[in-house]
Structures are given as structure tokens and as C-alpha cells.
Symmetry: C2
Subunit: 547 residues, 2 copies
């Protein structure tokens, strides 16, 4: 027997409809690519998004067609999102930080018919367009005054397109499982793979994020998502803000400390979300100028592990509550958040820190498990490391066009590629990437743990640990150090520093010093390149001491 | 093209699974019907709910079968809920405050096969059981020691049933639109009608409620739902608390001020939800004993309009934030909540009060409109009264067994039977019940507004306003007053009191004094009975003054 409740498909067009009807006057403020701050409202965003829909329909874009954006966080990008998704086309967010050849590969793989592009990225797109035969039309996200001369095919100016269309257009009316968004993973192994979000998964993910224990965003917040809209849906913020009618502040292309600070203060931002490097830049700017944060209250940090110093400085010096979050493109992305349990919340701040550094707890709708390499479940004892597997209402079940084949285990869980522990209170901590963990004598050594401790040495700028084949132990850790400019450091100094801070058998068997450590597109150490660089490395003779 | 996200049906068994896995040790504390406080955990609730499922399966209960509960808010009732719903049977919550004959009618209409009953209600059930031939089995929610002698059919003791079953049982695996819960409306006109919730609607309603702008419940909360589980899903709290892993405190049968106060303090409750009368009893207890509230921070009030004095006293004397909510059985029930917009939050408390007295804003997933009697949309100007219509992801589309026929308008909205205004900020205020509003010369007079002002007179205990036929104006308001014990009041005194507080043409044309005013099952004034009592009333001669 079925229930007798209304059929109300979970499609994301309803989110902007809601914002227009109930929060139509609420502001959306953008630092534009052209420079000036532009003030809009949800009612205007809604009207202009409908015009984008009409333009797309005029160009023959249909349900399921892919339409790409190559853009910063701006009101125009937001209008494109809802304009594309509202008619059941798929909004494919391109990551401009990728190599142009990779971008071309992705555009072709996705089969993008139309691309909306920011001025910043016009030259890059011009450079690859001859490789992208399927792209029928490129719209430059600017006004007539700033429209460049360009050899992009059938290029048009966004403001002209918007101006000439009607604001009347029917949205929705399709299955809630219809594809809604497409985002490619950065692809550290093999080609990038596309994650195809559905309207339902985005809507549900938005509701998950609005919980008091997740992002906790409210109509009383002013939200500045520094995290890009091309980076896993801006962590859901650009759905969640209109859903609650929160004022939205979009930083455009300027993500440096001074620019972000200016927006935080002038627009009275209360909540923001970004990767750690953004906050490091902001803190440096604050400290250099002895500045204050007048309105910022909460910050979500994700994308990579957050250094303790950021969390402590934000709290002690600025009264800002930093909440760690973990997720990935395949998880929409919210997997866990570090909002505190009552037991931890009752502790003094310094005693909260070890927990605040962990990635946090799974909300309802997200299921986690730890497995060994054979797929057996491992205990949640806070000590046992295992492969982190995830299942839930907004988790990928396959990649676009079937790439990578079946990606779920027999219980329907997706392998995150992370190695983690989960403690008895359900608090998860990432200890490594599965491909980076060092398997020594049947036990796992977390390369990240060793790196984090090595990074604590005042002379170290960057530290990386990789596993190197060892005849007896299978693998042993090699520590690779880039010292700060002008500093020198010896192997013995470094090993002395580690002593007592890590288990003896985790101690690297050698330390090498390099001029630079390769970073990937998202600013993380590129261990694939590093392993390639060290593929001919041999342990010093005599054999490393037994551990 | 469909998205490539995991299939994860929204079924409520996953909520308790989540609580068991991630918050298994969190307490569920009950004041039992037998008297003692009993401490349990989500892990234990989960285990015992599975035993209930196994018992039901043993008795032949199948997908879609109705299983009733006639019970207070207790851990056992919670176990029954999840035990019933987990196997796809329908949990039918019976309201013990109904007349026994009406209860019998409902049991038969629902086709309940099994009833779980609290000790309190065994005599009532014994009295009607001969009328309920379809009930195969009655389980008394108690232990062996307290099991009564009873002539209920195939009666068994709950603790014995639970003890003898296994805690292993597969839950879920059915369509998310499967019926999950059944709750009858109190039925002020005609027979009661059944609202048949689905797993999907309950799960989505739970997510709506967890938003920071709705109930905002968190793992850091200790939640005491005074609102009964038989009253529209306890406003979703008994789904939301395990979903976030909040400690739950269940008050059992004792809802008086002293008993609630004892639990609030001893269990360190931070959040509670109840109808205004409960809070009036609590405040009276607090004031009489000069007591303090040590931990309570937030209270949601719904079910009927909340008197200003409750909101003010809670805030000024106890630092408790009262949030108004509005909904009904057909809306799962959350329709609107009064969490503040930033503009109102910035005002001093006294200036917030007019807004805090309103019913609040609709969250995403709830759509409201105002219509005139012909179904035309009316403006959101804060002044125009109209029929309040509602559509959304957890709103009824029909009643059980098709009673009442089609209940949606051409746009799919349900008529709430309320009359309301909506202001330009989206804040809704109920002004009357559609059947109680007084239609005078083509305009609508809110009986509730006049009553609320009349209730402000210190000598008035209860005030009711009904429309009486008038030869010229169609209807005019009659004010009916019950004075406080020992007080006397005249018509002129009363009308003088109203002068300047309401529009002149809203002024009642007569005031009559009565010994008592009839109340319905939910404690509200029963205007149906009142209209019947005054059906022969005639306006005093000469005709009432023109207005």
C-alpha cells in the first residue's frame, strides 16, 4: 500500500522558485570579473535564469543535453546554473585550473553543446576550441562594453542574450532522477571521470547540508562561498543559500586575502566555506594589517586536512568557529562534518582540538564503513585504519558513460580511495589516501601523519612521505623535504625531531632534500609525480636498520 | 538522461539504523506509565524495535497492514513505531482523547489488526473492543509484574513479547512511497479522516525539520517532545532526534507543570515542543515555586496560537526562545515556523513580538498561497485575508479510502481550512478558521483577533466570537464571555475595552455572558457546539447600530 502524500518531484528549479517567492528581495552581491561590485536579488536572479533557459531552448538545447560553464563564482554563473538545470539540461562545471588539453578532453567526453565562459578564460578556451568540434556556441559572461574580439565559434555576449529573452519559461516537470549536473574528478589516475548528479541527489544533498549539525546555514546568515561552483557544487552552498533565503556574496576571481577580507567586512558576512589555503591567505592578511573580523562567525573548511594553527588562530584571535568537513566530487560532496558532539563541546577549546582536526561525523543519509583490502568490515575503535567506503542518498553509483565500470562493492558502497579511522563516537579521521599509505610488514603507515609532524619543524616548508619498495618489509617510508628559503637541515636533525612523536616503526628510513615538491591542480602534493621522480631511488647501504 | 547517483530509498527504518550505528550509546529516557524513570539507548531501542518486527511477522502482519498504538510518549511506543514501520506495516497512532465511540469507528475504518496499548487506556479499549471485530490481538505496553487481568482479545504483555523474539530482522527494501503512518484528523465536520503518510514524506519532513531555520535540533540538544506521538508524528521530533543522535526524554503520561519541570531539570533538556496549554501549566508551576530553568534554551509552540504572555515571560524571565510553528495532520505537520529573519532579529525583543506572534515562514518544500472563495490568488501584503492553501513534499493529496474525494485544487494545493494573511517578507499569520470567519458586508472579520483582544481583559477567562445572521450585513459578530470566578462584567464595559483596539466595523454587535464555553478534544473552543447553542439567538431590538 502506498502513502497518500502529494507528488512533489525533488527538482532544483523549485529551490530558486522558493527564493524568488519568499525571499525575492534578498541580495546576491558579486565581485564581477570586470571589477565592480554588482548587487542583485533572488528575484532578479530568477528572472535572468529564466531568460537563460529561453535562450538555450532557442538554440535547440534539450533535456539531457550538456551545457558547460567555465566561470568563477558570480551572479551570472548562478543564473546559468539554474537556467540550464531548470529545463532539464545538464550543467557541466569545468575546472579552469586543469591543463588546457585535459579541459579539451573533458569537453569532448561530456559532449558539451554550449559553453558559458568568463572573460578570464576566453584565451584558454580559444586555444583549445579547434579540438572541441561538438561545441556549437560560446557565450561570454560579460556585457556589451567588455565583450572582447574573439575567434570563439558563434560567440555572443551574455548580457545581450539575457536582455533579448523573455523571463517567462516553464521549469521542471521531469523525473526527479533526471541528470542535473556533471563534474569531472581531477583524475590522479587515468582520465578524468564524470560524476552525473541528479536533481533528486542535489535537492537531498541541499537538505542534508542545511541541518543544524552540518552547515547550519540560515536566513540570518550572509554567506560567502569561496569554494568554487566548479568544485563539487560549491559544497552545496549555492543550492542551500537560496533555499533558506540567505544573502549570498560571490567573490568572483579575487580569492586573495585582501579581496576576501574586503567582502567579509563590507557585506557583513557571517559564514564562509573554503579550502585551507584560502584561510591561510586571509589569516596572513589579517595578521599583517592587525585587522579584525567584525561579523564572521562560522567557517567550513574542506578539500584537504586543516592545519591546527588555522583552527586555533580563528578561534582564539577572531572568535570564528572552524568546522572541518570531508567529501569528494563523488559524494556531492558532503560526507562528514566536524560539528561537535555534546561531550566534546563541553571541553575547553584546547581539549576540543584533537577532535576538531578530525573530519567528523556522517549525517543521516550518509553511511560509512571501514574495510580491509579483502572487503571485510573493520572496527570503529579509533585506531584501526581501513579503506573508507561510503553509501547514501547523494553518492555516485557509476561514472558518466560507464567509465571505470562497476564502482560499488557488493553492499553498494563506493570506495573513496581514502584510508581512515572511525572512533566509537562515530568521528572519522582520514589518515591517508589508499594509494599513498605505506604497507610495511602487513601494517599500514599513514604518510599524512608523518608529513604533518615533519611540517611542524620550523625549517621545513613542505614534507612528503612515499613508500619505497623494501626487500624485507615490502615498503618503507621515505621522507622528502623542501626546506624554507635560506635554511639548511640534516637527515639526523629531522629524524631527531620525529623521535617520540611517532611510533618507532613509522620512522622514515631515509630523508632526502629537494628544491621543490610537485603540487597538483588542487594544490595538494602530487604523489604520482613524486613516485615517478623517485622510481629509481635505492635505500642507502647498509640496509636500513630493522624497526 | 538520468543521473548516476545511488538508489537509496527514503525509508524511515534508516533513521533508527543511523542512530544505532552512529549514536548507539545516546540515551532515551522515559517516565513510564508505571511510574519509574527508565533509561535506554538508541542501540537498545533499535534492538527491541527489531523484536517487535519479528513478533508482528510471526502474527502474520504484512506490508500495508495497519497496526495501531494507543499510547503516551515512551520508549516502548518509539520501539513500536519503528518495529511496525520497518517491515512496511502502517503505524496507526490512535488519539486517546477522542470519544470511545469515535475511537472504535476509527479502528474499524483503519482496519487495525493489532493494537499496542498503554495501561492507562486498557479500560477504554475494553469498553469498545466488542465493536472492533477486526482486531486480532492487543499488546499491553508493560512488563509481567504490571500486566493486568484483561478481557481484551489475545492480550499479551509487551515485555514478554520483546523478550521472546530475536533482534535480527531485515528492515526496508520496499518502495519509498510505501505507506508508513496513519493519523486521523480530529474531524470537526463529518467523520474523522485518515492521513496516510509515506516513508518518503516522513523522511523528507524529518530533513525539513532539522534545518537551522525550522526546529534546528542538533546532537548537542536534549529533546523533550511533550507533543504526543499520536498528534501528527510528534511534529517529526521522534524521527529528527534519532536522525541527529540527540538525547531524547519522553514524558509518558504526566504532562502537568511539576512533572515536566522535573524532567527538564533532571535530564538537562535544551529543547522542547508542545501546545500552549502545556507551557501555561509549566509557567504557572515555575512562578508558584519561584523556580528557574537551568538548561532549556528553545521551545517550539504550535497546535494553536500562542498567547503573547507566554512568549514574553519565557524570554524575559527564563531566557527561553519561543518559536511559533503552524501545521496540521495533513501537513505532516510542519507548515511554517517563526524563526526570525535578520531584519526582525535585529530589533529589540518587544519590537520582535508582533512578528513572533505570527505563524512564520514556509521552508523550502512547502508552498503556500492565499485564495479568495473563487480560487483567485490574493496578494502577500500582510493585510488581505484569504484561504490558506498548501502544496509540498509532505502534504496529503487524499484521505484514506478516498474519503472526502478530491481534496486538491487545480494547481495541486490542499485547502487548510484556515484564513490567513502573508506579508511581503513571507511571514504568514492565521487570522481565523475559514468556517469561523465572519463575513460582514462582503468583508472578513477575524473571530480570533477579536477573541484575543477580549481575552486581554483582566476579568475574562474565555472569550469566543461567532457570526450570527444579520439581515443587512449577512453576518455580524457576537461576543460570548466566560468571566473569571467571582468577577462580574457588563456589555458596555467590554465594548469600551475593545474600543480603539479593533476596527469599528469589527466591534461585536452584542456581548453575552455564559457559565461555560465548550472545548473540543484538543483544548480549543468548540465553535460547532457554540454555534449550535446560539442557533436561536436573535439580535437585541432595536437592530444593531450600523457600522
Amino acid at each position: 500500500m502506498l502513502g497518500l502524500m502529494q507528488d512533489w518531484p525533488l527538482t532544483v528549479d523549485k529551490i530558486l522558485d522558493h527564493a524568488k517567492t519568499w525571499h525575492g528581495h534578498r541580495e546576491v552581491v558579486t565581485r564581477t570579473v570586470e571589477g565592480p561590485i554588482v548587487r542583485s536579488t533572488y528575484a532578479e536572479i530568477h528572472d535572468r535564469a529564466k531568460r537563460v533557459s529561453n535562450a538555450l531552448k532557442g538554440w535547440g538545447v534539450k533535456l539531457g543535453d550538456r551545457v558547460a560553464t567555465l566561470a568563477w563564482n558570480t551572479h551570472r554563473h548562478l543564473e546559468c546554473w539554474y537556467g540550464i538545470m531548470g529545463i532539464g539540461a545538464v550543467c557541466h562545471t569545468l575546472n579552469p585550473r586543469l591543463h588546457p588539453d585535459q579541459l579539451a578532453w573533458i569537453i569532448n567526453h561530456a559532449g558539451d553543446k554550449v559553453i558559458f565562459v568568463d572573460l578570464t578564460f576566453v584565451p584558454m578556451l580559444e586555444g583549445i576550441m579547434s579540438q572541441c568540434k561538438g561545441v556549437e556556441r560560446v557565450i561570454v559572461l560579460t556585457d556589451d562594453w567588455n565583450m572582447p574580439q574573439t575567434r570563439l565559434p558563434r560567440a555572443d555576449c551574455y548580457e545581450r542574450v539575457v536582455r533579448e529573452q523573455s523571463g517567462e519559461c516553464a521549469w521542471g516537470g521531469f523525473d526527479e532522477n533526471t541528470a542535473c549536473g556533471l563534474c569531472y574528478t581531477s583524475g590522479t589516475t587515468g582520465n578524468p571521470k564524470g560524476v552525473l548528479y541528479s536533481h533528486r541527489s542535489n535537492f537531498l544533498h541541499m537538505l542534508i547540508g542545511l541541518q543544524a549539525d552540518v552547515l547550519a546555514t540560515s536566513v540570518r546568515d550572509t554567506i560567502l562561498p569561496v569554494v568554487p561552483m566548479f568544485h563539487a557544487n560549491a559544497w552545496g552552498v549555492t543550492f542551500g543559500a537560496p533555499a533558506v533565503g540567505a544573502k549570498l556574496v560571490l567573490p568572483g576571481p579575487k580569492l586573495d586575502g585582501a579581496s576576501i577580507y574586503e567582502l567579509l567586512e563590507s557585506e557583513k558576512v557571517t559564514y564562509s566555506a573554503a579550502v585551507p589555503t584560502v584561510w591561510q591567505m586571509l589569516l596572513a592578511h589579517l595578521q599583517a594589517g592587525r585587522l579584525k573580523l567584525s561579523t564572521l562567525k562560522r567557517v567550513t573548511i574542506g578539500g584537504s586536512a586543516c592545519p591546527e594553527s588555522i583552527i586555533r588562530t580563528f578561534w582564539n584571535d577572531y572568535g570564528v568557529d572552524v568546522v572541518h568537513a570531508w567529501g569528494m566530487t563523488e559524494t556531492s560532496p558532503l560526507g562528514t562534518t566536524g560539528t561537535l558532539t555534546p561531550e566534546v563541546a563541553a571541553l575547553p577549546f584546547e581539549q576540543q582540538l584533537p577532535t576538531r582536526l578530525k573530519q567528523g561525523r556522517a549525517p543521516v543519509g550518509v553511511e560509512l564503513k571501514l574495510c580491509d583490502d579483502a572487503g571485510n568490515r573493520l572496527p570503529h575503535d579509533g585506531k584501526t585504519q581501513g579503506r573508507l567506503m561510503i553509501r547514501g542518498l547523494a553518492i555516485a553509483k557509476a561514472y558518466f558513460r560507464g567509465d571505470g565500470g562497476n564502482i560499488l562493492d557488493s553492499e553498494g558502497f563506493f570506495d573513496t580511495g581514502d584510508v581512515a579511522t572511525i572512533d566509537p563516537n562515530g568521528i572519522m579521521q582520514i589518515t591517508d589516501r589508499a594509494k599513498d599509505v605505506i604497507k610495511s610488514g602487513g601494517e599500514w603507515i599513514s604518510s599524512i601523519d608523518v608529513e604533518n609532524i615533519a611540517m611542524g619543524h620550523p625549517k621545513v616548508e613542505l614534507a612528503a612521505v612515499i613508500g619505497i619498495h623494501h626487500p624485507k618489509w615490502d615498503e618503507r617510508p621515505l621522507l622528502i623535504i623542501k626546506t624554507r628559503p635560506g635554511e639548511t637541515l640534516t637527515k639526523d636533525e629531522m629524524l631527531d625531531f620525529l623521535k617520540g612523536k611517532i611510533a618507532k616503526w613509522w620512522t622514515p628510513d631515509d630523508v632526502v632534500f629537494v628544491d621543490d615538491i610537485p603540487l597538483g591542480a588542487t594544490g595538494k602534493i602530487d604523489k604520482k609525480v613524486l613516485r615517478e621522480q623517485f622510481k629509481d631511488y635505492r635505500w642507502p647501504a647498509p640496509e636500513p636498520a630493522e624497526t
